[in-house]
Amino acid sequence: MYLGRVVGRVWATAKNASLEGQRMLVIQPLTPELRSTGKPLICLDSTGAGAGEIIYWVRGREASIALLPAEPAADTTVVGIVDTIHLPTAPGVGTGEKGAESRPAGAAAGETGAQAALERTEAGPRIAQTGEAGAQTAPDGVPAATNGAQSAPDGVPAATNGTQAAPKDPAAPGASRTPTHRKGRRC
């Protein structure tokens, strides 16, 4: 399985009968540090992933197994939506402070709340120690949850929810994506 970001959609009216009713997404593969790597590709979708979301996808024969019982002619399928990534050993992702720095940078590059919500800090307790990082997590995480619910991606509502407690953040995306994760586990 590989990480990727949803960067677009594809529509095709004339298609193989096995692909009827399947969503097709344009995916940009990512490294674990969320840098783009390789060429964009077309994936089927088993999760309902939306624009700009970080997802993971499978390649090969397993891609059609993910969509059982349909078994469409697919060699790449999105099988999960990423909530958080923890990379304790990755270079440049050493401390909670660095993780906090990387998020405003991502927002400046015009990326969506889904990516901004990704935590690249050393460990959970580390986030609690750095008050600023925890405070940023809550407003970033809320629009990520709305992305999962297929509403328009928008970072602006984050400001109104700025006072929400950080512990609420992991619960929100989890609640909205429960069906998604069930599908993901099926394969």
Partner: protein, 88 residues
């Protein structure tokens, strides 16, 4: 799956019997914004794609999952004709 453009056809008289009646097309991978990429692929057409049309091609053993390609020695199949690509 990749985006590709049909750039030619292949005619083969002597071939595996299971490939008889199948259309073989030469496709060239393209990026989502329409630029040609390196290389080309000979692909089995399952959707009656035409010359210069942008298509979706599936590779590997998944190509055999396409309707009409069951139990055939195929590792690349055209499974859709692209109407529109929307990049966010």
């Amino acid at each position: 799956m990749i985006l590709a453009r049909v750039v030619g056809t292949v005619v083969a008289t002597r071939k595996d019997p299971r490939l008889e009646g199948k259309t073989l097309l030469i496709i060239k991978p393209v990026s989502p914004d329409g630029k040609d990429e390196a290389g080309y692929i000979v692909s089995v057409d399952t959707v009656s794609a035409g010359y210069r049309e942008r298509v979706i091609a599936v590779s590997g053993s998944s190509a055999r999952m396409a309707a009409g390609c069951k139990d055939t020695p195929v590792d690349n199949a055209i499974v859709g004709i692209v109407d529109e690509v929307q990049l966010d």
